[in-house]
């Protein structure tokens, strides 16, 4: 029995409608897509348009104020401090997590046994919700917590991590690196395993040492992964909120040292019902991400 009866007409009327054969075939797939398309329309495009409209209004009466909200946000010292905090935490997160993750991935890749164990071990934090992880870090960063215990064992001075602006930011850096490291390792491992083994065999025959192989074969073949991690890290970093919010609260205490751009949007929108200002700040953040991503892709010669 044939699965497709080609002797039958390709289209049958459904009620009064008759669709052309090719159209009917497409109609089925569009029908499959319909829930997703409706979801995107209702929950992505409509809020985007509504947020843009709100960014030109102010107050509960939604009075039109032109670009006043944008100029107010750009003139706000709190906003620029939030930008500084966001960049500070993100830059250190990227410059610590990516090289460290790459090194750990190389070490795991070189293991003949127990590599799976270490993959799981390092990836667990990434699978944990940031809120749960940050709650644990509140205990780790406690003045009498395990991090200070280790520091004192090493002969270093005890730090009241979350009580001082600079150390609070570093607390957020440590948390974000710990949380993101597993993802960096997994991406790097995937790439490492895709490098043809013949390259290493050929170089061995030519007398290359393991370090030379790593530098001349491994590193150049990893550029693609490292670049995508850098770009994704930037985008995610600029949108950071949960970690800073959990450690520093709504205002990013102490003294707004953990106040991020998204925290600024959250405080003005949900803390004070200033939806116009919050929407304008959200669009400014969007432009920031766009600019940074463009610069990153150009600098890193990435093809997207």
């Amino acid at each position: 029995m044939s699965l497709v009866n080609i002797s039958k007409p390709r289209s049958q009327p459904i009620g009064r409608w008759r669709l052309a054969p090719r159209r009917e075939s497409h109609a089925v797939w569009y029908l499959f897509l319909l829930p997703t398309l409706l979801g995107i329309l209702l929950f992505t495009l409509y809020p985007l348009a509504e947020s843009l409209r709100l960014s030109f209004t102010r107050g509960v009466s939604e009075q039109f104020v032109g670009v006043q909200n944008y100029s107010d946000v750009l003139a706000s010292g709190t906003f620029w401090y939030a930008v500084y905090n966001t960049l500070y935490i993100t830059v250190f997160q990227l410059f610590i997590a990516i090289p460290l993750g790459f090194l750990i991935a190389c070490l795991i890749n070189s293991l003949r046994r127990t590599s799976n164990f270490f993959k799981v071990l390092f990836y667990i934090p990434n699978a944990t919700s940031m809120v749960a992880a940050a709650t644990v870090f509140l205990a780790i960063l406690h003045p009498d917590g395990p991090l200070n215990y280790v520091m004192e064992l090493l002969g270093l001075q005890k730090v009241v991590w979350l009580s001082q602006p600079v150390s609070a930011k570093w607390g957020a850096v440590i948390l974000s690196v710990w949380h993101w490291l597993g993802f960096v390792i997994i991406i790097n491992l995937a790439n490492l395993q895709a490098i043809p083994v013949e390259y290493y065999e050929a170089s061995s025959i030519d007398g290359a040492s393991p370090i030379q192989q790593w530098w001349w074969i491994t590193v150049p073949n990893m550029i693609g992964s490292l670049t995508i991690l850098f770009v994704l890290g930037w985008i995610g970093g600029l949108q950071r909120f949960a970690d800073a919010y959990m450690l520093g609260g709504l205002q990013g205490s102490p003294a707004r040292s953990l106040h991020t751009v998204v925290g600024f949007i959250f405080e003005r929108g949900f803390g004070g019902s200033e939806y116009g200002i919050a929407s304008a700040a959200a669009y400014i953040l969007f432009v920031f991400i766009l600019i940074f991503t463009y610069i990153n892709t150009k600098l890193l010669r990435m093809k997207i």
Partner: protein, 477 residues
């Protein structure tokens, strides 16, 4: 065959899609808790009669009311009974309130719309605009009243000669707000959840240091003097003790309360357009300096609420907590330390006799309600002893009584700290600080933190706070 299948697939998919859409529809009784099992609910009380149940009066059922009353509740409420994961105690659900109200108003059905605190203002705004309920719990009452979304209650109060004297002093005034046409704050809500902040101290540490307990209404000087005596190595245990602690997150509210004790106030006005702030007054600067000095007697992590986690427990090492929420009585019960801790009143303004941030939750009627008279009956019901005793017995973790009658309840008398808590709730600053609804709150808080960190002098930081907040107020006109 494939073609035939694809036709069936189209029909099945369309039907499924319609099914999903119909499931998304907010029909009656889907998202709300209308409690159809009222008979079962009554039987679920398990024979343990609560004070709320004993307060259920045998009054004549009210006539002339019918229909469905939708009541929105925000917080940790559940329709059915639930067990607290920490204490293991089972609290009865709000179905008790539904049953009692329906008994008092035959022919009426109560539906609860229960929601958490996440973005409750935004959700309430949407509900008020769409008329999703009749009665709303509105801690952010000023914002909604200003938009004309709440029903003024004065006409109802006058019509029924409703006695506002049943409530603790200041509890009604604390929730006054201004509608779009009002010239002064009016009544738009009636309190049903009480809240306050108190000074709580550890009597055992006082004893160990040989320091006299705090008076019921201590001055700032008394607190500082006694806290200073108890900072250092405990003479009996030898462990490090701290004289005091406070909530770093709302240090600005503590400063404001100290400011009040020095004769200052937050400012004047109610709506943004006519609000005048006094953040840089001499008393505010002095209050900020006082707290900076007091910080030296607190654990190192006080700014982020670290270092005093054992307060209320047996192994506590902090003598005085300047800002405890009344729910601390539950912690004391859990840790079995009721006899070790005592409460004292917050600081008060020397002339006005009140002080401290007003808090809690009132009920209000939405202007979009189709059943306003019945909604008003619910508001009156929320001030009844039955309702208030239910909240005290079953929802104590999130509510304190707001009626004077509570002082006579046996279980209240049996709680050593309740006398002070009820007194405190009667002398909170009313109406509540309106500046806390917008940016001035965050601006003040940020600058108080800068003072406590030593990044700025009190005078400079308060001047900056005043300038920034005033500029923001200007932008709201």
């Amino acid at each position: 065959m494939l073609k035939a299948n694809s036709r069936y697939l189209v029909v099945i998919l369309l039907l499924s899609f319609l099914l999903v859409l119909s499931a998304c529809q907010s029909g009656t009784g889907t998202s709300s808790q209308n409690g159809t099992n009222t008979a079962g609910a009554a039987a679920d009380t398990g024979g343990q009669e609560t004070e709320a149940e004993t307060a259920s009066t045998e009054q004549t059922p009210a006539k002339g009311f019918s229909g469905t009353l939708k009541v929105q509740l925000v917080g940790d409420f559940a329709f059915e009974d639930k067990t607290d994961p920490v204490t293991g105690q089972t609290a009865k659900g709000v179905k008790i309130l539904k049953d009692e109200f329906e008994k008092r108003y035959p022919g009426v059905t109560v539906e609860f719309l229960l929601m958490g605190w996440d973005n409750y203002n935004e959700k309430t705004q949407t509900m008020l605009q769409s008329g999703a309920a009749d009665v709303y719990q509105v801690p952010g009452i000023a914002n909604f009243a200003e938009q004309g979304l709440l029903e003024p209650l004065q006409p109802y109060i006058e019509r029924d000669s409703f006695d506002l004297g049943i409530y603790l002093n200041g509890q009604v005034d604390g929730w006054r707000a201004m509608g779009p046409d009002d010239q002064q704050p009016e009544i738009y809500g009636l309190p049903f959840i009480g809240d306050a902040r108190l000074i709580v101290y550890d009597k055992q540490l006082f004893d160990e240091w040989g320091v006299e307990y705090l008076s019921e209404s201590p001055s700032v000087d008394e607190v500082m003097e006694k806290a200073a005596k108890m900072t250092g190595k405990n003479p009996k245990t030898g462990e490090q003790n701290y004289g005091l602690t406070f909530n770093g997150n709302d240090a600005a509210d503590t400063v404001m309360n100290i400011n009040e004790s020095l004769g200052g106030q937050w400012g004047t006005g109610f709506l943004w357009k006519d609000m005048k702030l006094e953040f840089d007054s001499a008393t505010m600067i002095k209050a900020a300096e006082w707290l900076k000095e007091a910080k030296k007697l607190a654990p190192e992590g006080v700014l982020v609420n670290q270092g005093s986690e054992n307060f209320y427990k047996d192994n506590n090492n902090v003598a005085i907590h300047l800002r405890s929420a009344p729910g601390f009585i539950n912690s004391l019960e859990t840790f079995g330390t009721q006899d070790r801790y005592q409460a004292a009143l917050l600081f008060t303004h020397p002339d006005k006799g009140m002080g401290g941030m007003f808090a809690g939750s009132p009920f209000a009627i939405g202007t979009t309600s189709q059943n306003k008279d019945l909604a008003w009956e619910w508001l009156k019901f929320s001030g009844s002893e039955f309702f208030q005793q239910y909240m005290w017995d079953e929802q104590r973790s999130q509510s304190m009584p707001v009626v004077k009658a509570a002082a006579e309840w046996e279980s209240v008398k049996a709680t050593p700290q309740m006398d002070v808590i009820l007194k405190q709730m009667s002398q909170l600053w009313a109406p509540r600080y309106p500046y806390r609804s917008g940016q001035p709150r965050y601006i003040l808080s940020e600058n108080i933190e800068r003072i406590l960190l030593g990044e700025a002098s009190a005078a400079d930081a308060m001047k900056k706070a005043q300038e920034e907040a005033t500029k923001w107020l200007e932008s709201q006109k």
